[in-house]
Each structure stands twice: as structure tokens, then as C-alpha cells.
């Protein structure tokens, strides 16, 4: 039962539902990431499963969204890549079954959908990095995950053997 001391916070604006990923990329114009996901047939499904659903039907995910200019800077490389390579690259930008907000980021590694680890670094100035890309706009709450905008593609880290 609601106990003594319960507080009701009056707010001046009704809270919004989280947008599906496609709508989120559309509004601020992160078209390049959405186009790449579509091309790789990894478009994140809007929670609709069934025989006709294509793409990635996942929830509770964390996704890193490179800006358009980040894609432009390596555009020719991606254009020449086959679909399998593109899928590998994009899957490296998604963490499945793990909703990670920036406040939970420290110097940690987390396995990506691709399988390889993503390495997070938080510097003393408060900037947060995933591999070599800086998180420039964190914590957009989506319909079924959270998106962080990054200033470059997350590149694979090569370990010397």
C-alpha cells in the first residue's frame, strides 16, 4: 500500500514514449547509420515479430550511432564492402540484451553483437569513448533500447599475438 511519505511530483509536460530506432534516426537526421543498417538487412524491427518481419528483432539493446560525417569519412571503404562485412561492422555497434546508460560506463569491456569486445574509456574530463570514437550525445531512450551518438565508427581493435 502507498505508505506515509509518498510524494507525487507534479510535472509541466507529459512524458513521451520512446521512439523506435528509425524515427530516432530520422528526426535529427542520422540517415547514414539507418541506411547502412537497411543495406545490411539489420534494420531494427519495431517490436513486430512474425513470418514477414525482416531484420533484427531485439530489445534491451544499446546502439552506437555514428554521425553522418563519420560515415562520410570512411564512405569509400564501406561502399566497396560486401554485405557480410557490412553486417560485421554494424553488429560491432550494437550491444544485445544490455541497456547501458552513460552513467554506468567506466573503464570496462562489453561484448558486442558481433562477438568482439567493445572497450569503454572515461577520461578525467568526463568524455566517454568506445574504442576510438567519442560519445558526443548520450542516452537517447528508444522504444526498446538506448542510443548513443558517436563521432566516428567503432573500429575493430587488433591485438598483436
Amino acid at each position: 500500500m502507498l505508505g506515509s511519505g509518498i510524494t507525487i511530483h507534479k510535472i509541466d509536460t507529459v512524458l513521451s514514449f520512446g521512439a523506435p530506432f528509425q524515427l530516432f534516426t530520422y528526426r535529427p537526421g542520422y540517415f547514414a547509420m539507418n541506411a547502412a543498417l537497411e543495406a545490411a538487412q539489420l534494420a531494427i524491427d519495431f517490436g513486430l515479430s512474425g513470418p514477414s518481419a525482416t531484420g533484427l528483432n531485439i530489445s534491451d539493446f544499446t546502439i552506437f550511432v555514428p554521425t553522418n560525417s563519420a560515415f562520410e569519412s570512411i564512405g569509400s571503404v564501406l561502399e566497396s564492402a560486401d554485405q557480410a562485412t557490412l553486417q560485421e561492422v554494424l553488429k560491432y555497434h550494437i550491444i544485445p540484451s544490455n541497456v547501458i546508460f552513460s552513467t554506468a560506463l567506466g573503464n570496462v569491456t562489453v561484448k558486442s553483437l558481433q562477438g568482439a569486445d567493445l572497450v569503454f574509456t572515461v577520461l578525467e574530463d568526463g568524455s566517454a569513448w568506445v574504442n576510438g570514437a567519442e560519445i558526443v550525445y548520450a542516452n537517447t531512450i528508444l522504444f526498446n533500447g538506448v542510443a548513443h551518438v558517436i563521432d566516428g565508427l567503432v573500429l575493430f581493435l587488433f591485438h598483436s599475438r
Partner: protein
């Protein structure tokens, strides 16, 4: 304390607001009548909320509900009073799991989950798909308590109303804290 803030006490006399009666709590606040009406449209919701423990309600004022555009899912839920799934989803997104008085909300954001789980699906759309409920961000900006939800919507807590009871059936002491600044203006 800044001049824009006021702390006031009030004793609610002559009305029966028993502990655990969410309808009566809302009814004691005239600027929450739209919310009270919407709660009443969803079968069993008032009872569910009254029976709940460890929840925190963020209550849009009448003005807040009136300001929502009617061509977005949130506005359709308010306008179409027959779609109890959409209304239920909208309201569930305002009920947080956990106790969040202003004192525990800091300038380091808290991402808290609500009662809006994946069970809310009408013929148009599902409303959320997170294990354990949709997230919203609670953060303090100066002295203001702000909530950031989907679509980067920023809500400001304009008044926090706390109800304290000596005994479950006594009239509560009501503590009201108001703020008049806006999270979005400062952000």
C-alpha cells in the same frame, strides 16, 4: 534557497484521504483532475496503484495534458477516451518503480524504470519493449527536478506534494514544495 522556491505546509482538513487511496490523493489536488479522470478510465488502475508500494508518481498537470499535440500517440491516448490500452500505457510511463523523492535525485542522472512494460499493445502499436519497463531519466538541474523521456522530452517538476500520516486513517499532513523555473530553460 532561491526566491523562486517556496516550502509550505498545509493540513488537509475535513476530507478523507486515507493512506493508500490514490484516487483521494489525486482528488485533493485540483490541478490533477485530468489525470484523475484518465486513471478512472482504466479498469482497476486506481486499485493497483493504491495497493502498490515502492512507486513514485510523476503527475502531469491539467495544463500539461492540454498541451500535448493530438496527432502523436500520447495525445491520441488522451483524446480517444475509449482506448484504455493507450491510456494505460501513457499513465504507466509516469509511474516509476522505486521511491524517488527530490532528495535522492541528483545532478548525476538516474535512469529509472516505469510500469510501462511490453504488455501494452493496441491495434496501432506496441508502446515499449524493455524487460522490466521503459526507462526515463531523472536528473537535477540546479534545484529543479527534471525528467527526460523519449524523444528528448523535458519535463520539469513544478510541485512536489508529500503526504504524511500519523495513522493510516488519519488526515495527512501535506508538505508542498514548489519550483517555478524550468528545466528546459536552463538546460
Amino acid at each position: 534557497m532561491r526566491p523562486s522556491q517556496a516550502l509550505s505546509y498545509a493540513i488537509l482538513a475535513g476530507t478523507s484521504v486515507a493512506q493508500g487511496d490514490i484516487g483521494a490523493l489525486l482528488a485533493s489536488q485540483p490541478d490533477l483532475s485530468t489525470l484523475l479522470e484518465l486513471v478512472g478510465l482504466v479498469d482497476g488502475l486506481a486499485d493497483t496503484l493504491s495497493a502498490a508500494s515502492n512507486i513514485t508518481i510523476f503527475a502531469p498537470t491539467n495544463d500539461a495534458f492540454a498541451a500535448v499535440p493530438r496527432d502523436v500517440p500520447e495525445g491520441q491516448a488522451i483524446e480517444n477516451k475509449n482506448d484504455t490500452i493507450a491510456i494505460g500505457a501513457l499513465l504507466a510511463n509516469h509511474v516509476f518503480k522505486g521511491v524517488y523523492p527530490a532528495s535522492v535525485i541528483t545532478d548525476i542522472p538516474t535512469f529509472a524504470q516505469t510500469l510501462l512494460d511490453s504488455s501494452y499493445v493496441n491495434e496501432i502499436q506496441p508502446f515499449s519493449n524493455f524487460t522490466g519497463g521503459a526507462y526515463n531519466e531523472l536528473v537535477k538541474n540546479g534545484e529543479d527536478v527534471c525528467v527526460i523521456s523519449g524523444e528528448q522530452t523535458i519535463s520539469t517538476v513544478t510541485e512536489a506534494v508529500s503526504f504524511y500520516y500519523d495513522t493510516p486513517n488519519s488526515s495527512p499532513t501535506i508538505l508542498t514544495q514548489t519550483t517555478r523555473t524550468s528545466c528546459s530553460a536552463q538546460a
